[in-house]
């Protein structure tokens, strides 16, 4: 009877029921879409940084980060890599030489980080070959003259294309300068635009000769893990114990700004949700006040006839629960459809140069990600807030005596 009355009452004013449902749907959908965009953005940033820039864990000479001097190199890298790869949880490792320098074309000069790589081993850790689009060359797979792979932003800046001649300059381990010509073999393009702009790859043997390093002397060993990036802290502590004379860093230590960005986005997300919840609760309190006060006389009459407060409360509660369930069902369908669509097509975003200069990297499209916990949290919170918002007017109406209500 109570349930039937509740359903009939909801049908009494269809427009109002629709607006209550719509406001809850908008709240849930908006909140979840915002959260999924933020999560997707952070995931892409982290994934891009790990995939092409830092791997999961990096090893350097203890003082490498003091001045990034070419002389701060690791000895016996071949043996070290063999030992590291035998550790549990490590998928692959690659040695790199890294020197800050310049690159010059006929048009202009730019600051770059020159990375000397062993292409075969490198690809086990950094799949940069996958970031070279068709028609933009290859990753040291096919070349005739001393090759270099550069990012597309840098290529545009230098006015370079495949087979363009570029000259790189840098400092040797003795403090002298070197300079040598290279020919563009591949142009890569990734989400991490900051990295794309400043990082160039050349064969490690070439850079070793230019910088004065021997074959197994390198600046960096990049490690990729078998598990996801969240387990990197555990590997870092294990490697720190095993190699106390080396600097072992996880991706988040190398790029702390990503963690800061994550925290900032989480904070923004929480503020957004709070505002949405506040707006929804105000709307619902307002509508429910109207609903119950409009029927004040009816509630008074029902109480006069013998319907107790608990039953009246149950009746109003049933109306709210029906509205909430309907809103939840529809918003779940909408969210599923919207997120499925954007999961495939991505949400196009503007590349903001200011963000780029912070070194965070930017993305051209965000692929929203929604975790089950986030969905449960937001919908649960909105349901609870809506429920609590409805209770206030209900409790107020229940305090009124039947005779007073019927006078209305």
């Amino acid at each position: 009877m109570i349930l039937k009355l509740a359903i009939i009452n909801l049908m009494r004013n269809k427009k109002r029921s629709f607006f209550v449902i719509a406001s809850i749907i908008v709240g849930i959908t908006g909140g979840l879409f915002g959260i999924s965009l933020a999560t997707g953005y952070v995931n892409q940033l982290v994934s891009s940084v790990i995939r092409y820039e830092t791997a999961d864990v990096l090893i350097h000479e203890n003082h490498f980060f003091d001045y990034m001097e070419p002389s701060a190199y690791i000895l016996n890298s071949d043996q070290l890599i063999k030992n590291i790869v035998s550790e549990k949880g490590i998928k692959a490792a690659t040695a790199r030489i890294k020197i800050n320098g310049f690159i010059r074309s006929a048009l202009t000069t730019a600051n770059v980080e020159i990375i000397g790589v062993d292409p075969k081993k490198e690809l086990l850790v950094f799949p940069i070959n996958e970031a070279i689009p068709a028609g933009k060359g290859n990753y040291f797979a096919d070349f005739t003259r001393t090759p270099i792979v550069i990012g597309s932003i840098l290529a545009d800046q230098l006015g370079a294309n495949i087979n363009s001649r570029l000259v790189i300059s840098g400092q040797t381990i003795n403090g002298d300068f070197f300079s040598s010509a290279f020919w563009v073999c591949g142009i890569y393009s990734i989400d991490n635009k900051h990295f794309e702009k400043k990082s160039v790859f050349i064969p490690i043997d070439e850079l070793a000769i230019l910088s004065g390093l021997k074959v197994d002397e390198v600046h960096e060993i990049a490690i990729s893990l078998e598990k996801n990036y969240q387990s990197s802290d555990q590997i870092v502590s294990e490697l720190e114990s095993a190699y106390p004379n080396l600097k072992i860093s996880s991706w988040s230590e190398i790029r702390p700004e990503i963690e800061v960005t994550k925290s900032y986005i989480n904070l923004t997300q929480n503020i957004l949700i709070t505002i949405i919840l506040f707006a929804i609760s105000l709307g619902i309190i307002n509508i429910m006040l109207l609903v119950v006060y409009e029927r004040k006389k009816e509630f008074g009459m029902l109480r006069a006839l013998g319907m107790n407060k608990v039953r009246i409360f149950q009746m109003i509660l049933s109306e709210i629960i029906i509205l909430l369930l309907l809103a939840l069902f529809i918003s779940t369908l909408i969210n599923y459809s919207v997120l499925s669509f954007f999961d495939q097509h991505g949400v196009p975003v503007w590349t903001v140069e200011d963000v780029n200069t912070l070194g965070l990297g930017t993305v051209e499209r965000i692929y929203p990600v929604l975790r089950w916990q986030q969905f449960s949290f937001v919908t649960g919170l909105i349901v609870v807030i809506s429920f609590l918002s409805s209770i206030i007017p209900t409790l107020r109406i229940l305090k009124i005596r039947p005779t007073e209500a019927m006078k209305n």
């Binding site: 009877m1 009355l5 009939i8 009452n9 049908m11 009494r12 006389k297 009816e298 009459m301 029902l302 109480r303 006069a304 006839l305 013998g306 319907m307 107790n308 407060k309 039953r311 005596r401 039947p402 005779t403 019927m406």
Partner: protein
């Protein structure tokens, strides 16, 4: 046998620092099967008295016993349950639930009492027959005339098997034909089923049918006449 005992009942209101004695030292008793009409000018305290007897309002002082139970001592929640099982109400403005049909309105109290659907159907059909609205069972109140709505309200008040029915100016909004039809129904129920009715009214048609008339003025009983 008395089903209602009212002893020295008082209800006072304060309005702009003025004490209003809406009901003033009222005492009387009601026997089962009576057809009582409380009359008096506007503001004489008729509705207040009915509200007190019905447990809708609490007295300032005095005692009300229904079947020996002191309802003036009951708390609001106890009174609500008491009303559900013991008192039927008929209001001036019908007060049917607009979204329910005539049949559903009659069933409402029975369902609150926990009576089975089968029993509800049986009683409702019988009551619709008594009030002459069997064919309008599935009509919503908005599709019924004032008289028909009030007859449904009477059926609703009887359906729960109350000890007595309080009817506050039940014919006030009805035309003479509907009022007569309604009173016929109520009188029939009183005579055939022994249902006790207490009316408050100005309507001479009800007074004409009354077995007892209690006259109120300024909250006091000034006359209590029983007819044979």
């Amino acid at each position: 046998m008395n089903i209602i005992e009212i002893i020295n009942l008082e209800k006072h209101y304060s309005e702009a620092e003025l004490l209003i004695k809406a009901v003033n030292k009222v005492s009387f008793s009601v026997k089962k099967g009576e057809f009582i009409v409380i009359v008096g000018p506007s503001g004489s305290g008729k509705t207040t008295l009915l509200n007190l007897i019905g447990g809708l309002d609490s007295p300032t002082s005095g005692e009300i016993f229904v079947d020996g139970l002191a309802i003036h001592k009951m708390k609001q929640d106890q009174l609500t349950d008491f009303r559900l099982f013991n008192i039927g109400f008929v209001f001036q403005a019908y007060n049917l639930i607009p979204v329910l049909t005539a049949k559903e309105n009659i069933e409402l109290i029975m369902k609150l009492q926990g009576i089975s659907q089968k029993e509800c159907n049986k009683r409702t059909a019988a009551l619709l027959e008594v009030i002459g609205l069997s064919e309008r069972a599935d009509s919503k109140p908005s599709k019924l005339s004032g008289g028909q709505q009030q007859r449904v309200a009477v059926a609703r008040s009887i359906a729960s098997g109350p000890k007595f029915i309080l009817a506050d100016e039940p014919t006030a909004n009805l035309d003479s034909h509907s009022a007569e039809a309604l009173l016929d129904t109520m009188q029939k129920l009183n005579q055939n089923e022994g249902t006790t009715f207490i009316f408050s009214t100005h309507d001479p048609r009800i007074m004409k049918r009354a077995k007892r008339i209690i006259k109120l003025e300024d909250g006091k009983i000034i006359d209590d006449i029983t007819y044979n």
